[in-house]
Symmetry: C2
Subunit: 219 residues, 2 copies
């Protein structure tokens, strides 16, 4: 598989998660930053190779083989992201571009050993699940902390209110993107929560909880 083929497969995979029907060449073109006509060409090639299902004008979807391949690329990408953040002190938002290159390195041994070095992580720095070597993959959902089930765990991935006072509050309380948060209790009276961050319990109001996005395990 060429690098370009791998990129197409990866993007079709990501688009396919939200869309149940065939993915349009237009949508792919937008993501790949290329023209729809180029996509048509490539999609035909991928179809000939048995990686996607394609019928003219009807959009594209991955075959089981294509999906397996896509999962492997996503696995590489996310493992490298963990490496960059954990071992090389990249920050959260600097890793994507580099991981985009590293994901194409071809060596099964390399990925196995990298996985081991990192302690077999299950999630990347953005809170997204890392597919296993065998291709198991359980997507995590982004949701508001206030809507998360009790006793669930997740990673803080974003804010709804990005006003200065709110961000200041988060900073003061050591709540940062990428942090693991466990939802312990909900007080029905005022909708406030008790959560655990860094092995410390803390109490947050409903207003805070309704403005923090987490990536939670499906429970």
């Amino acid at each position: 598989m060429t690098r370009s083929e791998e990129n197409y497969i990866k993007i079709i995979f990501h688009l396919g998660k939200s869309e149940k029907k065939g993915i349009s060449t237009n949508a792919i073109a937008k993501q790949m930053d290329t023209k729809p006509s180029s996509v048509t060409d490539m999609v035909k090639k991928l179809s000939d190779k048995g990686l996607v299902n394609y019928r003219k004008y009807q959009g594209v979807s991955l075959t089981p083989v294509g999906r397996k391949k896509a999962l492997s690329i996503v696995r590489n990408h996310r493992l490298w992201e963990v490496f960059l953040v954990e071992k090389l002190d990249f920050s959260w938002d600097e890793v994507h571009e580099v991981a985009e290159q590293l994901e194409h390195i071809k060596s099964e041994q390399l990925i196995d050993k990298l996985d081991k070095l990192l302690g077999f992580p299950r999630f990347d720095p953005h809170g997204d699940a890392i597919p296993t070597k065998e291709g198991e993959f359980k997507e995590r959902i982004k949701q508001l902390l206030s809507e998360a089930p009790l006793n669930s765990m997740g990673i803080c991935v974003g804010v709804r209110d990005s006003s200065a006072p709110f961000l200041k509050f988060l900073d003061k309380n050591n709540i940062a993107l990428g942090q693991t948060i466990k939802v312990l209790e909900k007080e029905e009276f005022d909708g406030s929560f008790i959560i655990e961050i860094d092995k410390k319990k803390m109490h947050i109001s409903n207003q805070i909880a309704s403005n923090l996005y987490l990536k939670m395990d499906e429970v």
Copy 2:
């Protein structure tokens, strides 16, 4: 610079170390595993870009800019080799192929941080010097331990006699490829040596010393 251009520059650099005159397209073709005619095409392009000096039928050499670029690629390659051996437990002889891919990843920040993670190593697992970020580079020479100057240090990189008894002897005495060896004393009477390995002194006969290759610093 494309990946292919980088590979040409790298190979011209390596060939240029032994050869003082222009490098022939034939020699490059052999190393690149391609045809001389393809080399001619590429070499013209590199010449247009100011990376090599080229006159028809007269061979090729790197310009200062080309050399700088080559050193950067060699630096990447060797740093990745150190990473693979030190951090991922690759063995000595498994690293080249993977490093060949990793060397082309484009991110200055990545290499800086990798360098730091590895503790700013000066030599790769094969005992070859790693060019500095600034492009300083002092080549190491492979020579027999028996011919190394006193008080010099080097890395064991090969054997001249590869018979089973010799290899067995090395194994028994914990002398392995990749090991750092310091030459302490030479006994003129029988040509034997006192060397230091792993902070322990040991005595070896001239016969052993004349069959071990080291990469030594130029002194």
